[in-house]
């Protein structure tokens, strides 16, 4: 048996909001019998343009039914803009988590919501918006959809992609292409995370940064040994400090200086810093 949370089992056994909303403002149908799960989501807005009612019909396993039920509960009361921010992670979290191999059920919910919102905006009634190249021919999953789950869920392996959107779970022929997509997105994320080259700091900014670093990274460590530290002066990359308390008489102060104070300042302020103790 799957390790479903109590909340998943509750929503499976007592599904909320089953059926079709009368005269709906948005309709989203995704999946198919062949794929093994399918979801039809309908919603209606109130006068304030908030989702007043949402209903579902689902063909699928216990977690697909629970995810659909959860989705309808979550989006009631939301504006369209708020609803369009709902991710598959939100659905899974609402249920207290889903087994990794069942994450595609939460993705099914997010997709249905996306299609229903698209339907609200454009009136298009396409069962599923197929944009871009179909990568997984067994389950009809497009490049866009794979990119979407990889980004939303920070996926790193083809196996995870299969768990989240089924792509690659049939004949497996598209696994190399999925791996290429993952690699491309990883590359983008790495590039985005790389530090932006900083403007040269003013001397005042440097001093503030040194003080913050000492306060946050160095002082608590010294204080726990009954010592302390003061900043005396800054001269370009030379930082002059004075040890206080126990540190002032400590016979390993030299190591503290090099391995703690200088190391931390190099890490957080500048790699060129050298630290000296103020002459008495």
């Amino acid at each position: 048996m799957w390790d479903y949370t109590d909340k998943v089992m509750d929503h499976f056994k007592n599904p909320r909001n089953v059926g079709v909303v009368e005269d709906p403002d948005g309709v989203g149908e995704v999946g198919s019998l062949a794929c093994g799960d399918a979801l039809k989501l309908t919603f209606k807005l109130d006068d304030d343009k908030r989702i007043a009612d949402a209903k579902f019909q689902t063909f699928g396993c216990a977690s697909a039914i629970a995810s659909s039920s959860a989705l309808t509960e979550m989006i009631k009361g939301m504006t369209i803009d708020e609803a369009s921010e709902v991710t598959n992670q939100d659905i899974a979290e609402f249920l207290g988590g889903l087994p990794e191999q069942k994450m595609h059920c939460s993705v099914l919910g997010r997709e249905a919501l996306e299609v229903a919102i698209e339907n609200y905006h454009t009136g298009k009634t396409s069962k599923k918006i197929l944009e871009g190249k179909v990568i997984c021919k067994c389950f009809g999953i497009t490049e866009d959809e794979i990119e979407h789950v990889v980004r939303d869920n920070k996926l790193t392996t083809a196996e995870q992609v299969t768990n989240y959107c089924k792509a690659g779970g049939g004949c497996g022929g598209c696994v190399p292409e999925i791996e290429e997509i993952i690699e491309r997105i990883q590359e983008e994320l790495r590039a985005a995370a790389a530090p932006v080259p900083a403007k040269p700091r003013t001397i005042l900014e440097t001093i503030r940064l040194i003080e913050e670093t000492m306060e946050r990274e160095i002082r608590p460590m010294l204080q726990s040994d009954g010592g302390d530290i003061d900043l005396i002066d800054v001269d370009h990359d030379r930082v002059i400090i004075a040890f206080r308390g126990m540190c002032a008489q400590c016979n390993v102060a030299e190591f503290t200086m090099r391995d703690v104070v200088q190391a931390k300042l190099r890490e957080f302020v500048s790699p060129d810093i050298t630290v000296e103790e103020a002459k008495a």
């Binding site: 019998l33 062949a34 093994g36 399918a38 063909f59 299969t162």
Partner: protein, 383 residues
């Protein structure tokens, strides 16, 4: 709550008589049968008695019975050992509906440059013996074909297939894990070279199996080491389980004649009851050539996992060929090989009965399941 166990093709309850005969081998008779002292030596004759009990159930000579740890080991030993003994350029002919214990070694052989042929089945799950004959004409082969299918219960014409294989000079193995104890088997009357059986499918515990190896069959041993099992399978004998399996085989032999028809009648009652009440429901597989205990039913428009969970809540244990329950994304390979439409494949449920089931239990399922199906269909966008 009632407990109705209808998943006997997955595993069976250990018969109380079996537990009873095993007991002394944990508490008193725990010696090593290979030892040169009375303490171990007295155990050896119990193994030989069990060997006779197993042989008697399937019409074999006791010397042809090799005890293993499970059905999967027996299948691996047969397929891999026979291919290895046969030498290079031997083809492996099997079917698309085999158990993973045969398909796994087949895939391994293919990955190591061996040629593997998987025979297909028709919509009723039956294969065409003429296709086997054609494949055998292409060169030397080891053939491994299951006696009865674990998911649908479909029984292959195994004697005929063995005959065809022997005429062509091939080696014939059958995975009879689901057949032994449910169908009469007389190996003296068929040219089958090897046969696998598993203890826990016939009311012995898990962890014990047998490979029958006909005298003269070329087979490289799989587990190398000790001299046990006449050098065919090294490793100290699992004495209590061997004794238990012997007893289970003796019981199966005693029950075989009256149990088959009785269980088949229960199974038919279940099948007819459900089909009559539930619309859009059908039986998968050949209903004539079928194990007496198995029924595989498709409930259209709904998914198997949901059915299993609701049944489980009502105390009913069964299994499903749906994608979700297997942890994979596609319905079972057996259902797919039969070309059953996806609309029906995802909602397929296997009921497998045993001698311990009663009419009352069957009626309870007929009463309990249809409302579950209705409930799930109310959720389905396809109804």
């Amino acid at each position: 709550m009632k407990n109705v166990y209808l998943d006997n093709n997955a595993t069976t309850g250990v018969a109380p008589e079996v537990v009873e005969v095993m007991q002394p081998f944990f508490t008193e008779l725990w010696g090593n049968p290979s030892s040169m002292h009375y303490f171990g030596g007295q155990v050896a004759r119990h193994i030989e008695h069990a060997r006779e009990q197993v042989a008697s159930l399937i019409g074999a000579d006791p010397s042809e019975i090799v005890f293993t740890s499970c059905g999967t080991e027996s299948d691996n030993m047969a397929v891999r050992g026979a291919l290895e003994a046969a030498g290079p350029h031997t083809r492996l002919i099997t079917t698309r509906v085999e158990h993973a214990a045969v398909l796994g070694p087949a895939r391994h052989y293919k990955e190591h440059e061996g040629e593997v042929v998987e025979l297909g089945v028709d919509a009723s799950g039956q294969l065409d013996p003429a296709e086997l004959r054609r494949e055998l004409a292409k060169g030397p082969a080891v053939v491994s074909i299951m006696w009865a299918n674990n998911e649908t219960g479909v029984v292959f014409p195994i004697e005929e297939l063995a005959e065809i294989t022997k005429q062509a000079g091939g080696v014939f193995h059958t995975d009879a894990v689901q057949a032994v104890g449910k169908l009469p088997i007389d190996l003296g009357k068929t040219p089958i070279d090897m046969l696998s059986l598993s203890g826990h499918k016939l009311h012995a515990p898990k962890g014990i199996g047998v490979l029958y190896v006909r005298k003269g069959t070329k087979l490289n041993p799989f587990l190398l080491g000790g001299h046990q099992e006449s050098g065919r399978r090294g490793g100290t004998e699992n004495v209590p389980y061997i004794v238990g399996l012997g007893k289970a085989c003796e019981l199966a032999g005693q029950h075989l004649d009256d149990e088959g028809p009785r269980v088949a009648a229960l199974r038919d009652r279940l099948e007819e009851g459900l089909l009559k009440i539930c619309p859009d429901t059908s039986v998968n597989g050949d209903r004539v050539n079928r194990l007496p205990n198995t029924s595989n039913i498709s409930f259209q428009f709904i998914e198997g996992e949901g059915i299993l969970y609701h049944m489980s809540d009502a105390g009913i244990a069964a299994s499903s060929g749906s994608a979700c329950t297997s942890g994979s994304l596609e319905p079972s390979h057996v259902i797919r090989a039969m070309g059953i439409p996806f609309t029906a494949a995802h909602g397929s449920i296997r009921f497998s009965l045993s001698r311990y089931n009663t009419e009352e239990e069957v009626d309870y399922v007929i009463e309990t399941l249809p409302p579950i199906v209705t409930r799930l269909r109310e959720l389905s966008p396809f109804v």
